[in-house]
């Protein structure tokens, strides 16, 4: 529901007052909400303290669009700088579909506070009817949360229309990563998994591929609902937007596959714990970057409680576990939760 009201731009007042006002206007006095606004670039940014509240009011031109979400079902990860691409899409789908090229310049909160959850990638090389979605499973406890099934789709071939078997998304788990991104929907046809075409592969094979890539899953789909497609500006769509039915030229797909793999190398590191029996060396050996990270984490925790804006909980646990493991001897049971990716802990 929409509410429209006015504020005095020169004297915006404190965030608490504004928050009270919002609750009053929406007649939700006892409901915890998250407040966000769209900045000039169309990015969704949070309002949770005096500073960003003032910033928001000062940038309003002249209208300030404010989004209010119930805290329980809010998508925290919708905010922040690292999520630029994804946000773009959330908003571009909802608000202004033609605005995805712009990049925001304003850093609102601590970058460590946020992690990307999903993104639409390779918009420039894919046909408009396709969408390549990247789901970042790591860094969130949310299940990927979707099911696939066998089905058939109609393709345009040189011999006319042809019915070919395909793989489709059959179900989205409520609250799962796939559903929360809004980028995947039931009956979307899966065309590729991490740059590899699925045509000719069985449902079980595709399942295994997706699970094997689940830490950094990139699925190319042909959405069942083609109305929310990204519309490119005229120049781009003029050049490549014409290639409609068949998927990418193979060379592109190959390059992509390699690029993706390359990216992944750094993403996916196994955890190696070496019990050298001399635990006293461990603190010295701890890399400095780790300590700074854990420090910043503590700071962040402090700040966030103050702000009333909680960063995603899984990050909390991850980081705290990381800091614990650096202080204690390896064979602790706590080590189990140390399976943080992207980190090699050499003790």
């Amino acid at each position: 529901e929409f509410r429209r009201f006015s504020l005095e731009r020169s004297k915006p007042g404190k965030f608490e007052e504004f928050y009270g006002l919002l609750q009053h206007v929406h007649k939700i006095p006892n409901v915890d909400v998250l407040v966000g606004y769209t900045d000039v670039h169309g990015d969704l940014l949070p309002i949770n303290n005096d500073d960003n509240y003032h910033k928001a009011v000062s940038t309003a031109n002249p209208l300030l669009r404010i989004f209010i979400q119930r805290k329980e079902d809010a998508d925290y990860s919708a905010f922040g700088t690292d999520t630029m691409t994804r946000k773009k899409n959330v908003l571009s789908n909802v608000l202004r579909p033609d605005n995805h090229k712009k990049k925001p310049h304003i850093v609102i909160s601590m970058p460590q506070d946020f992690r990307p959850v999903s993104s639409i990638i390779d918009v420039d090389i894919l046909p408009e009817t396709h969408r390549r979605v990247r789901l970042y499973k790591y860094g969130t406890d949310k299940p990927l949360g979707f099911y696939i099934r066998d089905g058939s789709s109609v393709r345009v071939t040189p011999h006319g229309l042809e019915k070919v078997p395909g793989i489709f998304i059959s179900r989205l788990v409520p609250g799962g990563l796939a559903q929360s991104t809004g980028l995947l929907a039931v009956n979307d046809e899966v065309l590729e998994v991490n740059g590899i075409e699925v045509s000719g592969k069985s449902l079980d094979q595709v399942t295994d591929m997706m699970i094997a890539n689940s830490r950094n899953l990139i699925i190319t789909v042909r959405p069942a609902n083609q109305r929310n497609n990204v519309v490119r500006n005229s120049r781009t769509s003029g050049s490549s937007g014409q290639s409609t039915e068949s998927s990418l030229p193979s060379s592109t797909a190959n390059t992509l596959g390699n690029v993706l793999q390359g990216e992944e190398e750094s993403d996916e590191e196994d955890i190696i714990i070496e019990d050298s029996g001399e635990p006293q060396h461990i603190p010295k050996a701890a890399p400095t970057s780790e300590s700074t990270e854990s420090l910043s984490q503590i700071e962040l925790l402090h700040e966030s409680t103050q702000n009333g804006f909680l960063p995603s909980t899984e990050m909390n646990s991850n980081h705290s576990a990381g800091s614990i493991s650096m202080e204690c001897e390896a064979p602790e049971p706590g080590r189990k939760s140390l399976e943080e990716d992207g980190t090699i802990i050499t003790l």
Binding site: L144, I196, L203, V206, T207, D208, I211, D270, S337, D341
Partner: protein, 998 residues
């Protein structure tokens, strides 16, 4: 840059790959699944078996075998060899006839299908008019008589399958000669059997189903005699001289009939119901064999008293006062008698009874007293108890080989010493290059040792672990011991026994050290036995230890089976592998991995809860490690927690049954209240259909997490002497990989040999690797400084391998279901990986290091990984660079049990089960190829059909004087086969050791 370096661009490597790798399915070992027909040629001395899937297999002397497959994949109903030819005719259940022949091609014989034919009646005639029920290849080799359901007998010319219409014997023609008061048109319905007169090829005996038997003169085209049987006819058999024949009937009786020129309608000589007076089952086939001493052998199938023994599958042999009913554990498909094939001989003098039962081949020696069974050299029933695991050991040292054979020969004393009677053809395959053992673990707690060196998979020795435990079944309770005056005189024969007394006894893992003779086996109830080969039987106490894998984990309750109870006090073990240590895991979950290091005298074992290390020298548990994730309830509760899925599968099978009932009812046509039932069933079907529609086949996409079930399941264990802690000192280590993608490495301290008993073995955890993709770890391997896999324990000590390179740095290869990863050692960091699942969507099921030699040069060989995926493909992946070399489709991906049963050998061959009873052997190597190669020579035939079969007469000579070819000669013959040696000196050596052992 890497993306441009694709495999397959190096021409030198490509050429080498062609010299190294080649995929062949070479031979099927074991017993054909669902046999349906049997044939035998006394002329070729070859036996043919047809199956329900349309395969026919020919067997002769050991190593002589042929296989053919009917394109239609229909059940083979009958097999008949053409007399004195290398040809046979098969009848399938689609009423088609197929002519097969053995032709020599490229120095070896091949079985080929030559012609096919389906009998066609006149237009408008019912299909029964041409439904073939009886088949007689005439001794003239020119025609085939086909008896049909309509009673007509068609004559077909060979090999063209042209119907000679003017020679058709119609029921009308037959009835002309038969007095009408005894017979009607119906008497001549369905030709049950056709038999040619043994002396006069112009006469054939025609038996109709309703009991009428007619002797037909082919020359004059008329019936010369007719015999009026009152009972439904099952089969006929001529006496050798043609003066009498015998008929057997549906009511369990058999009748002798005289054939003389003066009486054209003779009365039966004798009518006997052997198992009367109560109603008996049909006698479906009978033989009447004459002997020199005048007492005939009467051998027949069935005829048991219907009420008390109607469920037995029996073949009875009556010879004078001796009578035995051989009792088979599975249905008898067919049988034949091997007797004197020389047409000039006066008597049959039967030597052996060959019975094809549904699950095994049994051969009975009819010449030796007590009619003992003959040990078949092939067609072994691999599944006499269900196979639960298998293990292959290549290149067995001669000493161990001899000791296993000698242990096995002590078990085989009940068998006849008769040489294998089916001995046609000549095996011309080169001698197998080495002695290979295939060990199969079975559900009943036995391990069978098979000679897998050559084409004939031959049982060498059977080991039972049951004796160590107290089970419900008393081993002394012998079902065979029947009193003297027991009637009928049943005697159980054969080895097929699908019933397991206690499923906990099942063998799950086997590890044999070929140098030391140590054997470790592990089973379903967490039992691990370490055994030693002893040439004498002995009585001793088995040391017993318990390994609590849960350790201090509290609050878990095992809901699965109990552990096995052990026998207290000393146990008597027969010569062979004798257990001396028993470790029982607690909880008694199935052992999922096993490793034995015979040099360090250590055995490691793992279950779904953790793993442990046991010192079998000091008989002390070194350590246990719990790998369980606290949230993994499934692993804790044991197999009972699968009740849900069991219920589901039960429901499904009921549904299937109901559905099939519906369809069968429909076929029969509704009568009475059947329509009501049908309606209800239809509704049920509809419901089931709806249910299916509601839940389409879909797959959940979810990342693996630490909380998944069975992450602690230990999949692989590996001993290695490598650099675990620092690069200057190597030490013994134990590696374990789990289902959750974790690898644990333990540093071991094994005291030196002189203080081995005094100091304890110590272990300390040194490393833990969590693979980020969390896929189950299926293989761990350490590569030495030359990137060669570390040798097996004692391999170097026996000078059979170069000692590993301890100068260069070692590498660790971890194979998960999804990826291959090479890590550096001692500091573990990822060096190289090959992703399989992420790129291809397949998963690793089996992996082994195999050595591939070049077929061009003797001095080149390399080690690669042989990998079987869940799609049934085999991939060869190079070491240490993990490059895919080649891929072969091998097993259908739906054949889950085939994929699960696959074992690779060390030299690029492999086996997998194509049915519960058959191993398919395949080869990935150009160099190591074991396949049948044999010649069947057509014995010379003179004008009067006299056989001058060199081997045949030789055999006959041997048989006629069974006493003078001594024990030794026969033994040496068998040993030649077993030991695969051509060196006379070594042969003598074995013989002397064997004799010494005896």
């Amino acid at each position: 840059m890497r993306r441009f370096l694709r495999p397959g661009h190096d021409p030198v490597r490509e050429r080498l790959k062609r010299d190294l790798f080649q995929f062949n399915k070479t031979v099927e070992h074991g017993f054909p699944h669902q046999p349906s027909a049997l044939g035998y040629s006394p002329f070729l001395r070859l036996m043919a078996i047809g199956t329900r899937s349309g395969a026919i297999k020919l067997y002769g002397a050991p190593g002589v075998e042929f296989m053919g497959l009917h394109e239609e994949n229909n059940t083979v109903m009958q097999i008949h060899f053409i007399p004195d030819q290398c040809q046979l005719v098969t009848l399938l259940d689609d009423n088609s006839l197929h002519l097969w022949s053995l032709r020599q091609h490229g120095g070896a014989s091949e079985l080929r299908e030559e012609h096919r034919f389906t009998l066609k009646g006149p237009p408008g005639s019912p299909p029964s008019a041409t439904q073939v029920t009886a088949l007689l290849p005439h001794s003239s080799r020119e025609v085939l008589y086909l008896g049909t359901e309509s009673g007509s007998i068609f004559v077909v010319e060979l090999p063209s399958f042209r119907v000679l219409e003017d020679r058709t014997i119609s029921p009308e023609a037959v009835l002309q000669r038969v007095p009408e008061d005894n017979c009607s048109r119906r008497s001549c319905e369905l030709v049950e059997v056709l038999q040619e007169h043994p002396k006069n090829p112009d006469q054939i005996l025609i038996g109709y189903s309703r009991g009428l038997i007619v002797l037909w003169d082919l020359q004059n085209n008329k019936a010369t005699h007719h015999f009026l049987g009152s009972q439904q006819l099952e089969n006929l058999y001529w006496q050798r001289d043609g003066s009498k024949f015998i008929s057997c009937h549906y009511d369990g009786s058999y009748t002798q009939w005289p054939v003389s020129s003066d009486n054209r309608q003779p009365e039966p000589l004798e009518n006997t119901v052997p198992y009367g007076p109560f109603p008996c089952k049909a006698i479906s086939k009978i033989y009447w064999q004459t002997t020199k001493n005048g007492l005939p052998y009467i051998i027949f199938q069935g005829g048991m008293p219907r009420a008390s023994y109607g469920d037995r599958h029996s073949i009875s042999v009556i010879h004078g006062s001796q009578q035995t009913a051989f009792d088979f554990t599975s249905r008898v498909i067919d049988f034949f008698i091997i007797f004197s094939s020389d047409p000039a001989a006066e008597f049959d003098d039967p030597s052996a009874l060959v019975v094809l039962a549904e699950e095994e081949l049994v051969v009975i020696d009819l010449r030796s007293a007590g009619w003992p069974a003959v040990h078949p050299p092939y067609l072994a029933s691999l599944h006499c108890s269900a196979i639960t695991c298998s293990h292959h050991v290549s290149n067995i040292p001669l000493k161990l080989w001899e000791r296993i054979i000698s242990a096995g020969s002590k078990q085989n004393i009940h068998y006849s010493t008769m040489p294998w009677p089916i001995d046609g053809g000549t095996n011309i395959a080169p001698d197998p290059p080495q002695r290979d053992l295939l060990l199969t673990g079975h559900e009943d707690g036995t391990v069978r040792f098979w000679d897998a060196s050559g084409v004939c998979l031959h049982l060498l020795y059977k080991l039972s672990t049951v004796r160590v435990f107290l089970t419900d079944a008393d081993p002394n309770d012998n079902m065979n011991t029947l009193g003297e005056d027991e009637w009928p005189p049943l005697r159980k024969v054969g080895t097929f026994d699908p019933y397991s007394d206690d499923p906990r006894l099942g063998i799950q893992k086997i590890y044999l050290c070929k140098y030391s003779g140590y054997l470790a086996v592990a089973g379903t109830a967490g039992q691990v036995l370490v055994m030693e080969l002893n040439d004498e039987d002995a009585e001793h106490v088995v040391d017993h230890a318990e390994a609590d894998l849960l350790q201090d984990q509290e609050g878990y309750r095992w809901k699965g089976h109990e552990k096995l109870k052990t026998r207290d006090g000393p146990v008597r073990f027969e010569a062979g592998f004798q257990p001396f240590v028993l470790v029982q895991c607690q909880p008694p979950a199935v052992v999922t991995s096993l490793a034995l290091h015979s040099e360090w005298k250590l055995v490691a074992f793992g279950t779904s809860h953790g793993f442990g290390l046991f010192d079998h020298q000091q008989k002390r548990l070194v350590f246990v490690k719990c790998t369980l994730h606290p949230s993994d309830q499934l692993a804790l509760e044991g197999p009972l927690s699968r009740v849900k899925s069991l219920k589901k599968s039960l429901r499904q099978s009921f549904r299937r049954i109901r559905r099939s009932r519906v369809s069968s009812r429909k076929r029969r046509g509704g009568a009475g209240n059947a329509s009501e039932v049908q309606e209800a069933n239809a509704k049920f079907d509809q419901d089931a259909l709806q249910e299916m529609e509601l839940a389409p086949v879909q797959r959940k996409i979810e990342a693996r997490s630490a909380e998944d079930s069975f992450t602690g399941f230990v999949r692989t264990l590996y001993f290695a002497d490598t650099f675990l802690r620092d690069s200057s000192r190597h030490c013994p280590s134990l590696w374990a990989g789990t289902n959750g993608g974790t690898v644990y490495a333990f540093c071991l301290r094994v005291p030196p040999a002189e203080r081995r008993m005094d100091e304890p073995v110590r272990a300390e955890q040194a490393k833990e690797i969590q693979l980020m993709h969390r896929a189950p770890v299926v293989g761990i391997l350490v590569l030495d400084g030359r990137s060669t896999p570390l040798p097996e324990p004692l391999e170097v000590a026996h000078d059979l391998s170069k000692s590993p390179d301890m100068q260069g740095s070692h590498q660790l290869l971890v194979v998960s279901e999804e990826q291959f990863k090479v890590f550096t050692l001692p500091k573990v960091s990822s060096k190289l990986k090959l992703k399989l699942t992420a790129l291809e969507g397949c998963r690793v099921r089996k992996v082994t290091v195999a050595n591939f030699g070049s077929c061009k040069t003797d001095d080149y060989s390399e080690n690669d990984l042989a990998v079987l995926t869940n799609l049934g493909d085999i991939q060869i992946i190079s070491l240490p660079f993990l490059k895919l070399q080649i891929r072969f489709p091998c097993i259908r991906k739906e054949d889950v049990s085939g994929i699960a049963s696959c074992v690779f050998t060390k030299y690029g061959q492999g086996f997998y089960l194509i049915s519960p009873s058959e191993f398919e052997r395949f080869s990935l190597s150009t160099k190591w190829l074991v396949e049948p190669r044999c010649i069947v020579d057509m014995p010379e035939v003179t004008s009067n059909n006299h056989v001058h079969n060199k081997s045949g007469t030789e055999n006959a000579a041997r048989k006629s004087s069974p006493d003078d070819c001594g024990e030794d000669e026969r033994k040496s013959g068998r040993l030649m086969e077993h030991a695969l040696l051509n060196d006379e000196k070594v042969l003598k050596e074995i013989q002397s050791t064997l004799e010494g052992g005896r």
